[in-house]
């Protein structure tokens, strides 16, 4: 049964097209091997693995459709990022920034977009742009505070 975000056609389409979808049932009175392997202590816990099964991102709890899609796209981006595929990571982070600007993960996407840009080009302006963008758009975000050291970089 597809309840919650899974009843949304955009979510269904994105998951079917971009991922292999997997469900694992949890039993808290008798934890499963997968619960132990991935340290699952609350549900829903939602993981993004690469095609070898390595976890690259997780989020916990029910979230609205817009946030849900943003997490999925950000998680895909983290797979590329962790595999040093910065151009593809930037594309995914851009999708979050442009298509889901009001979601909780959007400031994190801006941060990683800039870091991936810096690692791709070694141009410090990428990091300064992170600080400028976050300060302007998300002044209350923790990711804005994390970007504070980049304020010292000449724009």
């Amino acid at each position: 049964m597809n309840a919650g975000p899974y009843s949304d056609e955009k979510v269904q389409k994105f998951i079917e097209e971009e991922f292999i979808p997997l469900k694992s049932q949890c039993f808290f009175d008798k934890r499963t091997d997968l619960m132990k392997e991935f340290d699952i202590t609350w549900t829903p816990t939602l993981l993004i693995h690469d095609s070898n099964g390595k976890e690259h991102y997780r989020f916990v709890g029910f979230v609205p459709v817009d946030d849900f899609l943003a997490h999925l796209k950000f998680g895909k981006g983290m797979i590329f990022f962790n595999h040093y595929r910065y151009a593809e990571a930037i594309d995914q982070f851009n999708a979050v920034i442009e298509q889901h600007p009001d979601t909780g993960v959007a400031p994190q996407a801006i941060y990683y977009h800039g870091v991936a840009g810096y690692l791709k080009t070694h141009d410090g302006k990428e990091l300064r742009r992170v600080y400028d963008t976050l300060t302007l758009k998300y002044p209350q975000s923790e990711w804005t505070r994390r970007s504070q050291p980049y304020a010292q970089i000449t724009p």
Partner: protein, 32 residues
């Protein structure tokens, strides 16, 4: 689109993911 077609076995899902070159979206859920 209808319903999402879920896999239920982690090992088989990895094999399928490798074949198709796709990442895995993994929902740990509780029926309670």
């Amino acid at each position: 689109m209808g319903e999402i077609k879920w896999e239920r076995d982690f090992s088989k899902t990895i094999e399928k993911a490798k074949e198709m070159g796709k990442p895995i979206y993994h929902d740990f859920w509780f029926d309670g």
